[in-house]
Symmetry: C6
Amino acid sequence: MTDTYAIHAEPFYAPQGREVQLYEAAYAARLPVMVKGPTGCGKSRFVEYMAWKLGKPLITVACNEDMTASDLVGRYLLEANGTRWLDGPLTTAARMGAICYLDEIVEARQDTTVVIHPLTDHRRSLPLDKKGELIEAHPDFQLVISYNPGYQSLMKDLKQSTKQRFVAFDMDYPAAELETTIIATETGIDEATAAKLVKVGQAGRNLKGHGLDEGISTRLLVYAASLIRHGVDATDACRMALVRPITDDADIRATLDHAIDNIFA
Amino acid sequence: MTDTYAIHAEPFYAPQGREVQLYEAAYAARLPVMVKGPTGCGKSRFVEYMAWKLGKPLITVACNEDMTASDLVGRYLLEANGTRWLDGPLTTAARMGAICYLDEIVEARQDTTVVIHPLTDHRRSLPLDKKGELIEAHPDFQLVISYNPGYQSLMKDLKQSTKQRFVAFDMDYPAAELETTIIATETGIDEATAAKLVKVGQAGRNLKGHGLDEGISTRLLVYAASLIRHGVDATDACRMALVRPITDDADIRATLDHAIDNIFA
Amino acid sequence: MTDTYAIHAEPFYAPQGREVQLYEAAYAARLPVMVKGPTGCGKSRFVEYMAWKLGKPLITVACNEDMTASDLVGRYLLEANGTRWLDGPLTTAARMGAICYLDEIVEARQDTTVVIHPLTDHRRSLPLDKKGELIEAHPDFQLVISYNPGYQSLMKDLKQSTKQRFVAFDMDYPAAELETTIIATETGIDEATAAKLVKVGQAGRNLKGHGLDEGISTRLLVYAASLIRHGVDATDACRMALVRPITDDADIRATLDHAIDNIFA
Amino acid sequence: MTDTYAIHAEPFYAPQGREVQLYEAAYAARLPVMVKGPTGCGKSRFVEYMAWKLGKPLITVACNEDMTASDLVGRYLLEANGTRWLDGPLTTAARMGAICYLDEIVEARQDTTVVIHPLTDHRRSLPLDKKGELIEAHPDFQLVISYNPGYQSLMKDLKQSTKQRFVAFDMDYPAAELETTIIATETGIDEATAAKLVKVGQAGRNLKGHGLDEGISTRLLVYAASLIRHGVDATDACRMALVRPITDDADIRATLDHAIDNIFA
Amino acid sequence: MTDTYAIHAEPFYAPQGREVQLYEAAYAARLPVMVKGPTGCGKSRFVEYMAWKLGKPLITVACNEDMTASDLVGRYLLEANGTRWLDGPLTTAARMGAICYLDEIVEARQDTTVVIHPLTDHRRSLPLDKKGELIEAHPDFQLVISYNPGYQSLMKDLKQSTKQRFVAFDMDYPAAELETTIIATETGIDEATAAKLVKVGQAGRNLKGHGLDEGISTRLLVYAASLIRHGVDATDACRMALVRPITDDADIRATLDHAIDNIFA
Amino acid sequence: MTDTYAIHAEPFYAPQGREVQLYEAAYAARLPVMVKGPTGCGKSRFVEYMAWKLGKPLITVACNEDMTASDLVGRYLLEANGTRWLDGPLTTAARMGAICYLDEIVEARQDTTVVIHPLTDHRRSLPLDKKGELIEAHPDFQLVISYNPGYQSLMKDLKQSTKQRFVAFDMDYPAAELETTIIATETGIDEATAAKLVKVGQAGRNLKGHGLDEGISTRLLVYAASLIRHGVDATDACRMALVRPITDDADIRATLDHAIDNIFA
């Protein structure tokens, strides 16, 4: 079972600062971790890399507003010989000593966030109320959540009683040089073209809050590079991967298309 | 099973631009694809054509606001010998290497959109939390979603963290000449009558935003042609297929009826 | 099974115009049909008549806001030997080649309207996602929906992507002479009394939008005639069948009562 | 089964006008009936009396906003040998030819009101979609609904397409003399005391719309008389049965208490 | 079964007025009873006392907004040999002839309040729609509801059609001397200290509507006395039992603390 | 079973005042207890300590808005031989005589708060309506709830009828000296560094209501100390544990970072 969740190959991850060392200290102290940052900046990749580096299995759950506490903790299944309990991903992680990564935790309903409380204080335990069992977390277990402050609103924010159970990492898009290397390494296009794509990305990020809800992610830059690698013209690739998906506003599209034409001229 | 979803006959599709080549590149790079455009402009037909051209099975899901993540991923069924897991269409597609087409994705609840995240980044995997299984997508699997920007509102829009996982195609109604050909080819009426129907369609599309929420689709033009082919008078067919279904506003109806009378005079 | 839904006796239907011929063309082209009109004007009767005339079985579903897609498509039933799939009325119609009539479609939730999409375009298919089956509609299958534009509001209206899948018939209350004949034929009262009832009906319809949400339907006129036929005084019958059911407003009631007294004086 | 719902003893009912004769005509014509009036004025008693007079079984359903269509129509029960269908009260009534009385229909959800539509037009049938059965109503079957216009609001009102399926009876509190007789007959107190209670009732009904949502019902007058009959002082009985239950407003209470003291002085 | 709900020992109850005699008359006439009053003034104790005095079993249900009609009436349980019906508390009470006490009825959903209607008029019956059974209430059965007018709001109030089925008792906190006796009797503290606690209670009740939603209940005074009896200093006991639980407002707390210091100085 | 919930080792708890003695008196009188205070100030630790000191088992339930009364009280499980009742944590505690601690009770739905009423007045009983059983609480049973007045709002507050069933303890962050000792004792860092962390904590608490919803908890100070103990630089540890988790506001972050630099300069 542990093997199912092991990270066998080293994930490609280019550190932006001291985050690897700090995470190692947080893990050594078994502190719950919150990773903050915009969409597509590499939060999930960072957690995957740390799980690989620490040699711990990783169980990832993509949170959503319809997920119930039972989806995390477990439920009874009906079988021929009566009901059988099935551990949820959080319970599995707590038992086997995995890193449990709750992606986009703010999307989840409150019952899913409250359920993690006893795992994130001195108790490090998980009560399975419906089963009448109290699980002591495996010494290697750690809880990690991700959080996009850009979504933060009155309706969708973590409660302070949840926030105050984590140490936090701020992440952002990588600096230009690093992002260029990432794109070139991941897709195999040349550094010059990659650098131009990074410039397009930065043009888009400057529009955040001025018509765009969110900047252009590193992931989309990799998509554009991948299209170029498969023979698509660079300006076509940029339009298709960097502009069309993120906005339908004609003005913003024109601004970005113009930037693309200039950069690849 | 694969055969159930295979497209055996070439679907009639008249390209509007370079979309076929660009889609081939996106598929070669296994990038998730978003097809944008107004209702009835041929989005579903385009995806069906591409599936045929690439020789891949196609699984289509019409999204709606009451669809749950389980409807996509699968669920346990109760049987005589206990429960049996039944793969949902997304899981089926991921296993067999089909193109999975989520039609009108903005209609779906957030849990159905979040469930596709791990399939649309470097992981290309689908966790079946309720089954405790992690599926690696088949190398041929691709995810395609459709999206009508006209519906876009604060309540019904994709989150940026979802949008930034796709490359996008913009589609629109075909140009006049092409649309005339399509109508004539599909229904067997003469090109002259088809051309007149296209003129009625354009009259209607000019009213979009001026009393009409949406233009007259190519599909409705084909309906009108089909009625004419079955012996209905052209102006009757236009009223029945192009005006009555889309508006109850007396002024707009008068405007359109007048245009029809002029065009077929 | 087909026989259960067959219309054995010719329903009484008095055409208002060319609707019978136009419907026959629409059926010949297997186009989905939308019948629009106020409550009680004969929409359901018209569809029943056409089914009889075309010799096709008719499956009617009264839509409501609590109906789910499963109510249309089908669901698993739990049985002694495990679960058994039960086709819903839409699936039954698509398999046997019946006309499926969704009455008051605007009342339904969106998932029930979206579920009909693949049956109303070139695909003419119905995916049973929960069963993993894709049904090709029988060549005789046709979908008909009814729609009361009077209810139309921002909250309760069909989406354009649904509307643009139908050809439409506008229906209204029958003209005075025809309505007189209908009432006399259906209840056996004399034409003179029937004509007076039609006058009361028209008085009520003139108040639509001026204190009445909806005019007095042909159905209610038939009710009043039926009470007269069973010995109730004409003015009593009118009050009981035409006024009391439709409004509690004292002024409107007085206006209508006054009209009734004048007409039957 | 029919016997379970038969009315064996003649219910006490004092007619207010020609309602008994008019109901007999409506039943003879098998027209659906709507009984309107304020709470506690005798609507349910009237229907019970008519069922007794016509010698038909009566099935009463108290509607509420959480009642589903299945509560009326029926559902599958899980049993040792699989599922068994259990007819709901509406289905039972339609099969056996009972009068089915839906009390306070406006409280019900729309799916329960729509479900009665096919039973209230020329079809007189009830489709059991979940069972794939179409029931023809027994010739003796009749549908009756009650309706309190005082509750009528935008949120809670019947749709016109429902209203226009019924003939209507307006009921109100009985006239003074009749109400006095009713109270004396039902409780055995003397006519003089009963007459004084009726005066208190009228004082309360005059306050409707001026601080009271609803007048004092005949039922509460009977309650007060019953307390007097069991030895409670008349003014105590009035306070306890006629004032305290219906309002907590100090002014209204003072006004009513003052009236009671005057009337019984 | 009756024994389970019997009140074996006389509950301590000190009458405030003639309520015991009036209740006996209401029970003799088998009228449904509504007990009104602020929280913790002794409503539940009064009902328990009357059940003991009348020698009838008492079934209490604490109502809440998530309680369904099935929670009151009963439901089918799934067993090895199929389903088994389990009576709810209301059904149990109606069968055995118990007093059924619905505590805080305004908290309940409408379906739970409507379900009691046929038990509270001349029918005295309870239809178990889901079982197809009609229960005649046992001659000893009586329904009692409690109701706190302080909560009354547009959203949370009983409907008039429910209110007008009960005779009502108004209850309030006991007068000072009586309350002193109650506190001393229940906890064993001396009358002088009890009298001081009553003074604190009155100080708090004077603040109702001026910063406090509700006065200090007799129950809390008993709590304070109980702490004093267990060796806690009187002012500490008052703060802990009378002030801290009911308000977090610093000003109100200061006012009450000041009153406590003065009274116990 | 009792052993599962026993506290075997003395939890570290440093009293802030007389709360231990007052709790002992409240337990001796078996009064229900409410513990109030900001997040992370030690409410759960205090209750755990008291359970250890009194030698009673402790059952903790983290409340949330999706928790149902059944989650507290129990439910039927489906088994091979029919259904089996499973006690919920509240029922288990009432039977075995444990202290039942409902953490963050204000998060719970009303049905879960109403369910505790009969356990918190003179009855000390718990009706299992769905099982038809009435449990008398074990003499050692006590109910404890926690409550953060900071969350208090119109939507999320306890009803007075619930509040007035508890004696209350006010808790706050420990005084500076005590908090320094706690941090040093729990993590093993030196007192001087601990004292500096306390100063940072106080700086944060002064910002409550001026940009911060909640002060910096003792728990987070312990986290920061723990990171320092694992070799992280003090200012890094403070940023990671005390600033990043609790706010995304750039100004507040700057203010706190500045304070950290000064304190550790």
